[in-house]
Amino acid sequence: MPTPLILLFYYTASKVKSQGEKHRAALDFHSKVWYTISVHEILKLVIFLLEIKELSWSAPDGRKIIKDLSLTIPNNKLTVITGPNGSGKTTLAKLIAGVETAESGSIFLDGEDITPLDITQRAKKGIGFAFQQPVRFKGITVKDLLVLAAGGIASEDKLNDVLLKVGLQPEKYLDRDVDAHLSGGEIKRVEIATVLLRSSKLMVFDEPEAGIDIWSFNNLIDTFSQLKSSTDSSIIIISHQERILSIADEIILLRDGDICEQGKRDSMFPRLFCAGGEDCQCPNCIKGGASE
């Protein structure tokens, strides 16, 4: 076996051993005894950070919103999940973060089954989540919230830097309460900053563009583009926005609670924005999942 492949195997198998009691692989490094490990699982662990298997969730009124959905999120890539209104995008994001609990199915993060973990535990495992509609806190300042996000300690430089990344002037915002005195767009940017500060393995942003003005949106696109190239994290963005889709490595189209199609941006993007109009009948058109 070529050396790089052996190293890859050792690395992956040790990862599996430490993390996955549910995985079939194991490796005894002392006796150098090899156990069976499927090549498929090795590749999945190396390539994918998150794997979802047959996930289902219903609304309190009984409507099934997520239907036996399975997908994989690649390591160190920016994945945009898009789809029509009501297709289950936000619910899926909440299920990943543990904000909602799945009825059935499994979620694996870095090879570990995190399905039984609650929100706090998933956050500690490395999932960051930015809500589509951030909440407000009376008496908690932007600085307080950012320091909490950073784990209790953050230098002034770090706080300033993250606020600038989301288009907020630190000197104007750090001491302001995260309450009704901040506009919807301002509070949204603070929300995004809390996730950027956490250095998570997986960052999930639910419609980060919602409520943000065009100037701040440009700034946000730059931030996500830079983040993509500068971080080891995987990024999931729930979005309809063409410009966000355009910076994706991978696009997942959700429709009616399940994956309609998943692929590289270059193959998915032109078909999402086919010029053929709403009633386009061209065979490859998958439009309907995104809007300009």
Binding site: A123, V135, T194
Partner: protein, 309 residues
């Protein structure tokens, strides 16, 4: 300060940031009597001229950036302390008054501190009045703090009252009656935390008598356990003025809050607003903090601490 006992020193650290000594003028009241006092060039503290228990604080006109501390502590059970303190603030003075109260008891016999404070703010003066209340000692201690504040705010003067009850007080009744002259400004920030079977009531009455005066009342309360809080405010606009009253309450466990805000406009140019919100901690707030790695209990404590900050 040799007569200041250990319990008082501990209470002073909580209610008036006592670091072993006070810089500036002070009067420390312990178990119904003054045990330490110091006047300064611009701030004189003397016994009340009318013979009632308490002190008069005379602040010279144009006194700038000075502090005066007048904390009161009760360090044992079965003490009933009633004190009258009068503050005369000269024109143009700008001072901070720190007036905390701590009650420590180890048995369930009642101990009470009732402080009746009267303020007379001269033209153009500015007072920041900071008052923290705390109860310490045995869980079943019976501790009562009943403050009364009467103030007359002169032309262009500003009174900021920053009051907080940090916990451990079995019952409290705060009464506040304030009269405002023209261009006067009043800001009251009140924060109250109750737990177990504690009760707290607040009764603010503000008469805005001068033109272009403004008042802003902000009350935040957290009622935990089986505690009960009552908030009543009345802003009376007798002239062209602005008034704003905001009352927010968080309920935890079986806590109850009653808010009765009232606005009376006796002048067509009086602009008075009230906002009130009472409810449990929003589930979304807990969820957000949990996505930052906090447990549910840590999230709740963070929200309450911030709210009462």
């Amino acid at each position: 300060m040799s007569e200041v006992n250990g319990i008082t020193k501990q209470l002073l650290e909580i209610v008036s940031d006592f670091g072993g000594k006070f810089d500036g003028a002070y009067n420390i009241r312990q178990d119904c009597q003054s045990v330490a006092r110091q006047s300064t060039e611009h701030i004189k503290i003397v016994n009340k001229a009318d013979g009632k228990p308490g002190i008069e604080i005379h602040i010279s006109p144009e006194t700038q950036d000075e502090k005066v501390y007048i904390p009161a502590c009760i360090t044992q059970a079965d003490v009933d302390d009633l004190v009258y303190n009068d503050f005369f603030v000269g024109e143009g003075a700008d001072v901070i008054i720190v007036a905390g109260c701590g009650v420590h008891t180890e048995t369930n016999e009642l101990s009470r501190h009732s402080g009746v404070h009267r303020f007379f703010l001269g033209k153009g003066s500015h007072v920041l009045y900071v008052e923290k209340h705390v109860g310490e000692g045995a869980d079943d201690g019976n501790r009562t703090i009943d403050p009364v504040t009467d103030a007359e705010i002169g032309e262009g003067a500003v009174l900021e009252m920053d009051t907080s009850q940090l916990g451990g007080v079995t019952s409290t009744s705060r009464k506040c009656h304030i009269k405002m002259d023209k261009e006067a400004k009043l800001i009251i920030r009140e924060r109250i935390l109750t737990d177990k079977r504690q009760t707290a009531s607040t009764d603010f009455v503000v008469e805005v008598n001068g033109e272009d005066a403004s008042v802003n009342l902000i009350s935040r309360s957290v009622a935990k356990g089986n505690s009960y809080q009552e908030y009543s405010s009345k802003i009376i606009g007798n002239a062209r003025c602005t008034g704003h009253s905001e009352c927010d309450g968080i309920l935890a466990e079986n806590g109850k809050v009653s808010a009765q805000p009232s606005l009376i406009a006796n002048c067509k140019d009086a602009e008075l607003i009230h906002e009130a919100a009472i409810g449990k901690i929003a589930g979304e707030q807990i969820l957000k903090l949990r996505t930052l790695g906090l447990t549910e209990e840590e999230a709740e404590a963070t929200i309450i601490n911030g709210f009462l900050k």
